[in-house]
Amino acid sequence: MHRLARKLVLFMSLALLAVACGGGDDGGGEGAQQGESKDPIVVGAIFDLSGATSDVGTPYAQGIQDYVKFKNGKGGLDGHQIDLKFSDFAYKVPNAEQLYSQYVQEGAVAFMGWGTADTEALRTRVTSDEIPFMSASYAETLVNPEETPFNFFPGVSYSNQLRAVLKYIGDQEKGAQAKVAFFHHDSPFGTSPLEDGQKYIEENKLKIEMVAVKMPTGAQDFNPQLQNEGAGAKYVVIQNVPSPSAKLAQNVRASGSAATIVCMNWCGDEIFVKGAGDAAEGVIAVMPFAPPTAGAQGLEDLIAFTGGQANLEAKTLRYVQGWFTMATMAEGITKALAAADGGEITGVEVKAALETVKDFETGGVSKPITFSETNHAGLQSTPLYVVKGGKFEKLVDEIEI
């Protein structure tokens, strides 16, 4: 009995091993529909569903996956189904690299990345492999095709967001001196717009004193920072993800400060509003993509797909962001297919096609998205929203920098 059990275990483990090592080509992802004569277009994607940024990563990932399902249901891209190969990399760089290599070998012509860590780690690889990489990281370093020719993002760069915020503050203060405390995540993501923000203040002779304050990872409250560097600030600008930003907002209100809180794009969403509670009231948010409550015409497809306005609102703004990020990539691929006129497309063609995307309409969810050979940031201007009664309302439609 003992020997039989041992033999069975050995056999089963060998069988599992064979299945694991053998199965190469059909690992994971949305398969092509039966009966399609055109080859599916393979797009690789990595999501953070259980790591450090999973609170915003999970709805973003759902947005991308649902867009693919939606588009495939409508016949795909010019008849080609999208084969989305994706996995959770838990914000661990070695996982991101391994999955990237796997999906590129499995024929991916484009890649949907996520945050600063994986985008930076894969930056040189995507350039040498010539695979266009669309990230959710909006760092200014990814904008210039001379440095990162294959990186794109359909959003407003962090530097431009800070410039917009500073312009708004300058307009509000009408020449009066104001102190701005820039609270940021303790990483390159957090410090990314600082230098450009300072330059903007100097160039436009704004009477703003901007102080950079680090938000240590895992801190339970930010009162020490508010009392020291952040003391006397009239504006608190937050460049961080929603959970710590919500804590900071609560600290600001609890300290009795009447400072206006301004959230950059990764801070301002429903998770922040829920986490901050009453402290979220009056918070201004930079939102390149409209929230589900905005009633934009472009949200109709999403409402239909998710089964109602309430369902869409539950999925949060990040779902909308993911949906339209994938839509932008799909637009690039469609253009590449049109240019190839029935021929095979590779990453190089998709990259060239993305650079021809001009005024891609999102039905009012964002300003029209444009890429060019000199600029890989899809949006140059953004609206500002304000939280009223727990919901986002548009404050300013467009800030001209």
């Binding site: 996995s87 959770d88 590129v104 600063t116």
Partner: protein, 361 residues
């Protein structure tokens, strides 16, 4: 270590040999053949080829940790940070300042060894858990330095480490006129050669007086001091060797992956290295290799299983990182319960079974 019956040696040289019997030679030849054939077999499988190369590169650091923890008995939780020391040093030396890549890697190894020796100073006064805590401090201090010392990354937060260039102009980023070694296939060979050299060096280290002194420190450090082993000096030396090898591994990894970011060198890498040496079997160099191979295989296997099963169990497929963590812990617990001497002991028992059959011992 018991050898087959009927094997006897007539010279000291023969007694010192690493392989005594024909069976041992045959196994070595098979292993070498397997290692050479593997990248060709995996050429179309980027996922597993990258896992194999990662095993070879990380294995160097694990062998270093085995010298420190398995042979000298000093627990270290700073492997991740020293991987980073090596990586940032070589990125600065070879990429930013334009020195050749081998020089960068050598400098990285030496810098990591020196910094390791410095952080090993508490070993002169502390033992066991307390020493482990000071190495934990080293991990966090070094990680903080990587994140906040702007000089390292020139303010950018990450730094590129160029791939080695054979034949072309060495300082040139584009490697015109030469071949760039940036594929997983090329790096498999580089890492294999480096790992083999390191394995032979460490194996030979433990056939010398220095190696025996380190083992004596692990087993009975007071008795070792009494018979004349300079315990303090050798403990620092063990730290230097282990951290130097970790720096070497980190430098190789930097030139392979081409971008050095601090996110790669967090505490979980240190825990992974410690788990590898425990599972592999403390006290043998082969154990370090088995442990490293097994853990990296397991991680990739679960990732693969998750992808295969996604069509049938959709939620399960997306929980792969959670499953990896679960497997990580479960494997450590199972090994400590069922075979505390690790994979090396399991392999030894397998060999003995076939050698001694039909007898039990």
């Amino acid at each position: 270590m018991a050898s087959a019956t009927g094997v006897y040696h007539t010279t000291y040289r023969r007694d010192f040999a690493l392989r005594h019997t024909r069976a041992e030679w045959v196994r070595l030849v098979l292993l070498v053949a397997g290692a050479i054939a593997l990248p060709y077999y995996l050429q179309d499988n980027a996922f597993w080829l990258q896992a194999a190369t990662r095993f070879l590169v990380f294995g160097i650091a694990v062998v270093g940790l085995m010298v420190l923890t398995g042979y000298t008995g000093l627990v270290s939780l700073a492997t991740g940070a020293f991987l980073g020391v090596g990586a940032f040093t070589t990125a600065n030396v070879a990429s930013r300042y334009g020195w050749p890549v081998p020089v960068g890697i050598l400098v990285a190894t030496l810098v990591a060894a020196v910094i390791g020796a410095f952080f090993g100073l508490p070993a002169l006064r502390l033992k066991g858990l307390y020493l482990a805590i000071t190495t934990l401090a080293a991990q966090y201090i070094l990680l903080y330095t990587f994140r906040n010392w702007d000089y390292l990354t020139d303010g950018a937060g990450n730094i590129a480490a160029r791939a080695p260039c054979i034949g072309g102009e060495s300082g040139n980023k584009l490697c015109t006129g030469g071949t760039r070694l940036d594929s997983d296939f090329a790096w498999y060979w580089i890492a294999l050669v480096c790992l083999v050299v390191v394995l032979m060096a460490v194996r030979n280290l433990f056939r010398t007086g220095l190696g025996r002194a380190l083992i004596a420190i692990r087993d009975q450090d007071i008795a070792a001091e009494v018979i004349g082993v300079h315990v303090g000096r050798y403990k620092i030396l063990a730290f230097a060797i282990a951290c130097g090898l970790a720096g070497f591994s980190g430098a190789l990894n930097a030139h392979w992956r081409n971008v050095v970011t601090w996110e790669r060198y967090e505490i979980n890498e240190s825990f992974l290295a410690v788990a590898m040496i425990i599972i592999g079997g403390l006290g043998s160099v082969a154990g370090a290799v088995y442990g490293a191979g097994f853990m990296i295989w397991l991680e990739s296997f679960i990732q693969r299983m998750g992808q295969e099963f996604r069509t049938t169990f959709e939620d399960l497929g997306l929980d792969v990182p959670a499953l990896q963590l679960f497997a990580f812990g479960a494997v450590i617990v199972l090994f400590l319960l069922l075979e505390p001497r690790g994979l090396a002991r399991l392999w030894q028992r397998t060999k003995d079974y076939f050698r001694l059959w039909p007898f039990r011992y």
